[in-house]
Amino acid sequence: MNRREVIKNVALMLGGTFSASSLMAMNHWEQSTSPNKAGAVFILTDIQQKMVAEIAEIIIPKTETPGAKDVGVPAFIEMMLKDCYKEPDQESFMEGLASLEKVKFLSLNSDERKGVLKFLEQETKKMKSKSTPFWRLIKELTLLGYFTSEAGLKASFQYVQIPGKLELIKLKPNQKSYAY
C-alpha cells in the first residue's frame, strides 16, 4: 500500500464509511511488509525509535501532566520487546514499523498521523494472527510504561504506598484512582 492509498483510506474512515476498499488495503498492508526473520537481537534503528516515540506520545501526550516521552516510554518499549516478548511478537512489531515507514509516517502532519493510527486501530480489530498485532503491542507497552513510571503514576493517580486499612468509600466527583 502506498502513501496515497493510506491517506485515502484514512480519509474514508474518518468520513464515517468503512468500506471494502479499506479492508483490501489492509490486506495489502499486511502483505506488503516482509517480516524481519533474521532472528537477531531485537534492535530498532534511529528512524524506528523516532516513530515509536512519536506514536507513544500520540497515545499519551504531554498535557498539564507529563507525556510518554517525558517519562522514558520509548526506550521502555524497546527494552520490553527485547526482554519480555518472543520472536513472533517482535516480528509483528517490526512489520508494523515497516508499514509505517512505507507510508512515511514521520513526514505526515499531526492530523494525518492520528488518522493513520485510528485506521490502524480499527484494522487491528479484524486481524486474526497468532502474534500480537503492532498496534496492540505499542499501546499496551505505552500505557504500562507510562502509568507505572514514577512521574506518570504520581501525576495520574493518588499514590498510596501503605494503605494501612481497608475501607468502603464513596467516590468524590472527579476523584482519581488510587494506585498502590
Partner: protein, 571 residues
C-alpha cells in the same frame, strides 16, 4: 567407623523434620513446643523473615520490567511461569529454577516449587477452609479410592488449634458444607459482591461469603508475641510480608519453634535417603547431600517427619531402598507416588457490572469472595460427575489497563484512564479431583539429577470426571453472573495441566489397610511407625477447598501423638 560414632554424637536429635514449608514448619513448632530437640532440614537456601523479602517494599517503577515475565525467567522457570504472575520479577527469585532442578513430564504437570526456608508457605494464596464431614466420608460412600481412617471429629480440635495460631479472618456462616472456624474479624465484601450474594441466595439458595484468609485483621497476643502485625492492605503478599501479617512458616511456625531453643535448621541440604535399620526395624535417620558442595552427611533421630511436599516426599520414600523395603520405603502397598491429586483451576467466567459508580475502596483486599460447593450437595445431584467445586473471585473497578483494549488515544483518553473504570466481576472454580492410581510420580530408572538422585517423572492428567465438572464450572459461573444481572458475561477455560492448582497431594495416602495405603490414622508409615508423613502426600481425597490448614491440622495432631507415644516408650 570412628567417623560415624563422632557424627552420631553431633548429628543426633529427638526428631528430624524434612522440609520447612507449611507442614514442616508446623511439625517443628509442635514438636519443639512439646520438648523435643528438632533438626529441620531444608533443601533450598536460607531466607530470613523480613530482611530477605528483597522486593517487599519496592515501588512499582523500581521493577525494571514492571511485573512482566522476562524471556530469561520464562526459560529458567519454565514450570513455575505457567502460573500467571509467578514468573514476574516481584517473586521470581523466590521460586525454584526449573532448569537447574528439572523433572520429566511424561504427562505434563505444572510443578510449582519454592526451594527455600518456608517453601511455598511464602507464596500461598492464604485461603483457609476447614473440610466438612462429607469430605472425609465421600470415598467410602461412593466407593472411590479408599476410606479415610479419620473423620472430621478427629481433626476438629486441631483445626481450632491451627486457626488460633495462624490467624484467619473470616465470617461465620453456620454452613454444614463449609464448617465455621475460629476467626478474626472478616474483611468486607464490596458493593457489587453484596448484590451478587443477595441474588444468589434469593434465586439459588446458594450462600456466598467473604474469603477465609490467613491475614491478620486483628492480631491477638499469640501473633504479636512473634512480632506479627496487622495487615496493611497493600495486597503484595506474594513478595513476603514485612509486617508478618500473613501466615507463613517464616512469620509463624519457625519463629515459634526457634523461641523454644530446641530447633536447629540445616539449609541447602537435600535429603536423599531415609536410613532404615534392618535389626531395629525402624528408621534411624536420613542421609543428605549439600546442594552446593555435594558433601554427604547423616543425621539421626528417634522420629522423622516427612514434609518435603507431596511429590518430593514420595520421591524420597521411593529412593530409600533397603532389604526390607526393596520397592521403596514404606511402599509395600505400591501406593507411594500414586493417587496424585490437585485442584482444578483456570475456568470460570467474568462480567461487567452496571451501576455502583460511586462505590469505591480505599486499600487493597488481599482476599476474595467465596462460593462454597453447591453441586452434589443437599438436593443437587449431578449425573455426569461426582463431588463438587467452590468458586473464588470478586469485583473490582477497572484501572488504566482497560485502555489497552479500548479504542482511542490522546488527551481525553489519557485523562479518562486516571479515574476508576466500571466495576467488573470474576469467579473461578476450584474443583475436586478424584484419586486415581494411574495419576502418579515415579523415579526415572536411568536419569539422575546433578546430585545423583534419580529424576522425578510426572505421569498424571485430568480424567473424565474432572472434564465433566470443568464444563459445569464454566456453565454455572455464566449462569450465576447472568442471574445476578451482570453484563457481557464471558466464560474462560484456560488449557491447563494438573498441578496448576499448586495443591499437589495424595502420593502417600492415609488408610486403614496397609495393603492399600501408606500411612495409618496418625500419619505413621504402616510398616515403620517412627516415620510420619504429614504434608499433602497423606491426603486420601482432595475435597475442593484449599488444603493448607488441613495439612497443618494433620501435622499438629500427628506431632501430639508422636510425642505422647515417645513418652510412653511406644516409639
Amino acid at each position: 567407623m570412628n567417623l560415624n560414632i563422632k557424627a552420631n554424637k553431633n548429628n543426633t536429635f529427638d526428631a528430624i523434620v524434612v522440609g520447612s514449608g507449611m507442614s514442616g514448619g508446623f511439625a517443628a513448632k509442635e514438636l519443639t513446643e512439646r520438648g523435643l530437640k528438632v533438626l529441620m532440614i531444608e533443601r533450598g537456601h536460607e531466607i530470613k523473615h523480613v530482611e530477605d523479602y528483597d522486593t517487599a517494599m519496592k515501588e512499582p517503577w523500581e521493577f525494571e520490567h514492571r511485573g512482566k515475565t522476562t524471556n530469561i525467567s520464562a526459560e529458567e522457570r519454565w514450570a513455575n511461569s505457567r502460573f500467571p504472575g509467578l514468573g514476574s520479577e516481584e517473586v521470581v527469585n523466590h521460586l525454584t529454577n526449573d532448569k537447574e532442578n528439572p523433572y520429566i513430564e511424561k504427562r505434563a504437570f505444572d510443578w510449582i516449587r519454592a526451594y527455600h526456608t518456608g517453601g511455598k508457605s511464602m507464596h500461598w494464596g492464604r485461603q483457609s477452609y476447614r473440610w466438612g464431614k462429607h469430605d472425609f466420608e465421600a470415598n467410602a460412600k461412593e466407593g472411590i479410592g479408599i476410606d479415610w481412617p479419620i473423620r472430621y471429629e478427629d481433626l476438629e480440635p486441631w483445626y481450632t488449634h491451627v486457626e488460633k495460631f495462624v490467624g484467619i479472618s473470616g465470617q461465620k456462616e453456620g454452613l454444614e458444607v463449609l464448617p465455621d472456624g475460629h476467626f478474626l474479624p472478616a474483611m468486607p465484601l464490596f458493593a457489587p459482591e453484596v448484590h451478587f450474594k443477595n441474588k444468589m441466595m434469593e434465586r439459588f439458595n446458594r450462600p456466598v461469603t467473604v474469603g477465609r484468609v490467613a491475614n491478620l485483621t486483628q492480631p491477638q497476643d499469640i501473633h504479636t508475641a512473634l512480632g506479627r502485625a496487622s495487615c496493611q492492605y497493600r495486597s503484595k503478599c506474594q513478595r513476603g510480608c514485612p509486617y508478618g501479617a500473613y501466615y507463613s512458616s517464616l512469620s509463624g511456625s519457625i519463629p515459634a519453634a526457634m523461641r523454644t531453643n530446641r530447633l536447629s535448621i540445616l539449609h541447602d541440604s537435600i535429603v536423599s535417603e531415609i536410613i532404615y535399620d534392618e535389626q531395629k526395624k525402624r528408621a534411624t535417620g536420613v542421609r543428605i547431600i549439600n546442594q552446593n558442595n555435594m558433601q554427604t552427611e547423616e543425621y539421626f533421630a528417634k522420629i522423622i517427619f516427612l514434609n518435603a511436599g507431596s511429590i518430593n516426599t514420595a520421591a524420597l520414600m521411593l529412593n530409600s531402598k533397603s532389604n526390607r523395603f526393596q520397592n521403596g520405603f514404606g511402599n509395600d502397598s505400591d501406593q507411594v507416588g500414586r493417587n496424585l491429586m490437585d485442584h482444578q483451576l483456570g475456568s470460570g467466567a467474568s462480567a461487567t457490572v452496571d451501576g455502583f459508580e460511586d462505590d469505591y475502596v480505599f486499600g487493597q483486599r488481599p482476599n476474595a469472595m467465596y462460593i462454597p460447593r453447591f453441586r452434589n450437595w443437599g438436593d443437587d445431584k449431578q449425573t455426569s460427575y461426582l463431588r463438587g467445586f467452590g468458586y473464588q473471585g470478586g469485583a473490582s473497578r477497572e484501572g488504566w489497563e482497560r485502555g489497552i483494549s479500548a479504542d482511542g488515544f490522546g488527551d481525553d483518553f489519557k485523562q479518562n484512564l486516571t479515574k476508576p473504570g466500571p466495576w467488573n466481576i470474576r469467579i473461578g472454580g476450584f474443583g475436586e479431583i478424584l484419586p486415581d492410581p494411574n495419576n502418579r510420580i515415579y523415579l526415572d530408572p536411568n536419569k539422575k539429577d546433578k546430585w545423583g538422585i534419580p529424576m522425578i517423572v510426572t505421569d498424571a492428567a485430568f480424567v473424565e470426571n474432572d472434564w465433566a465438572m470443568r464444563k459445569d464450572i464454566v456453565a454455572s459461573a455464566v449462569e450465576m453472573l447472568e442471574t445476578a444481572g451482570f453484563k457481557n458475561v464471558t466464560s474462560y477455560d484456560r488449557p491447563t495441566h494438573m498441578g496448576l492448582g499448586i495443591h499437589d497431594m495424595g502420593t502417600a495416602r492415609m488408610g486403614r489397610d496397609p495393603k492399600t495405603s501408606v500411612l495409618n490414622a496418625f500419619n505413621q508409615v504402616h510398616d515403620c511407625k517412627n516415620v510420619f508423613v504429614t504434608d499433602g502426600a497423606a491426603m486420601t481425597s482432595a475435597s475442593c477447598v484449599n488444603p493448607s490448614i488441613t495439612y497443618m491440622a494433620l501435622t499438629a495432631r500427628a506431632a501430639d501423638f508422636a510425642v505422647k507415644s515417645l513418652k510412653k516408650k511406644e516409639l
